[in-house]
Amino acid sequence: MGTAQRKRLRTISEKPDLFDQLPDDLVLHILSKLSSSASRPSDFINIIITCKRLKRFALDPLVLSRAGVKTFAMKAERWSDPAHQFLKQCVNAGNREALYTLGMIRFYCLQNRGSGASLMAKAAIKSHALALYSLAVIQFNGSGGSKNDKNLRAGVALCARAAVLGHIDALRELGHCLQDGYGVPRNIVQGRRFLVQANAKELALSLRSMLTWKPQQKHVEEQQNLRYGCTVRGPAITGCPLLSDFGCNVPAREAHPVNGFLKEWFESRRGVLDHGLRLCSHGGCGRPETRPHEFRRCSVCGAVNYCSRGCQALDWKLRHKVECVPTEQWQGNTGRRWRSWIWRDGGD
């Protein structure tokens, strides 16, 4: 295949054509490596524009199925039908990251809840921890439905699967559920154990990232944020120094690009958030409410709201700790609010 074309190229070309020496399967192999290690969409999309042979190979299901998470790290303001099309092609190639990314975008941004959830479920079946956790958040909140659509048991079950795959927020959520008897019979000791595990994993992760730490633009921005105080919010905030339950500062975890997409989508004019709906107050999340008062508020100040305890815990260390001021409300009803504050404050 393509030999005739390559022969033609050789006659036109004066320079040595390195590309001609490479048989098709090796080109596919190189492009698979590129798609999985690309650090931005353009790294990979460039290939499509170079020539017909490379375009054909770049869109080969074998290559698309390997595409890594950063190949889909598109900007919300650049969202377009071809971008959607590209994600769909990768979904058809069985790419887990594409399933999750498109699932989140459809569910939250395009408000196509059924199709979004089903894409995330397909990613979850392929053991995508973030997809399992995102589905758990949807179940806990009854997102896309009414208050009565909350399914706490399903949320706990999904969290447990994500936690087994090493998802830290899921493990923390599971710990809180066990402690509070939320969707699962109460077991304070086991819950506490999971919370300790979540923190231990966080520490291990941060130690590993410290060992491979390279000064990059992102870190410079983070340091600036620190210098200007924790109240600065901006796109640079992708995670936060956590290990929050024990009051230690560890470097930020990198959020999934789709969280940045969601946030941009609703903060730019691309996405319209219906009146009375709010975004999760954790800057690195971007999940919007799908009905009024879906998310729970901070039980101390009532001024911020979170889609999950994971986001609450992350935002607490990053920002909210210094902002949170008790209001008169705090003595009032705490039914819909987080009940984990006292424990968290104690550990700090």
């Binding site: 190229l9 590309f19 001609d20 190189i30 590129l34 290690s37 969409p41 900007k75």
Partner: protein, 183 residues
């Protein structure tokens, strides 16, 4: 199969650790001769040659031969491939992932684009999977974060899109180009 020397490293130099350092011939490290397409002769230790799955199966089929002709392989990439495999054998005897990673990274960074691409078909023909992985990743890394024009010149690709086709493709994929400097 490798040899009876107990030394952890099995390079050419290790022959000197054997009881009679001076006689190169009658030693536990058997030599195998490889002949490139441009008729250059390479003498490599058996352990190194056995890294090449192609050479290995050649020997399994006809054990009596002592020269293996490699009609698809020229001397320069072959010598570089041999260099790589010699190092890999050291790591096999003495596993050190960090050192191996470092060596593999250095091995590819010091090569020119042409050397890299020339080695890929050789590694493929000789079926050296580790090297093929390292090389393909290195090529992928070199064309990452570069312009379309750079990728074309890297591979020596002639653009076979018409100006209109290319403009349409660029428009279609504008979503991917947020914040990228067109250079």
């Amino acid at each position: 199969m490798s040899s009876s020397t107990d030394s952890p490293t099995l390079t050419t130099e290790t022959t000197q650790l054997s009881p009679q350092p001076d006689t190169e011939t009658a030693k536990p490290t058997k030599k195998i001769t490889l002949k490139s397409s441009d008729n250059q002769i390479f003498e490599v230790e058996e352990s190194v040659a056995m890294e090449f799955a192609t050479v290995k199966s050649f020997f399994e089929d006809s054990p009596s031969t002592d020269t293996v002709p490699l009609p698809n392989v020229t001397a320069k990439p072959l010598s570089q491939v041999i260099e790589f495999c010699k190092e890999q054998i050291k790591f096999k005897a003495n596993p050190d992932e960090a050192q191996k990673k470092k060596y593999n990274a250095e091995f590819v960074t010091e090569k020119s684009d042409k050397d890299l691409v020339d080695m890929i078909p050789v590694a493929n023909y000789l079926e050296i999977k580790d090297l093929l992985d390292v090389l393909n990743q290195a090529v992928a890394d070199r064309i990452e974060n570069k312009s379309v024009e750079y990728v074309r010149s890297f591979f020596g690709i002639d653009n076979d899109f018409t100006a209109e086709e290319e403009a349409a493709l660029r428009r279609e994929h504008a979503w991917a180009y947020e914040g990228v400097d067109e250079d």
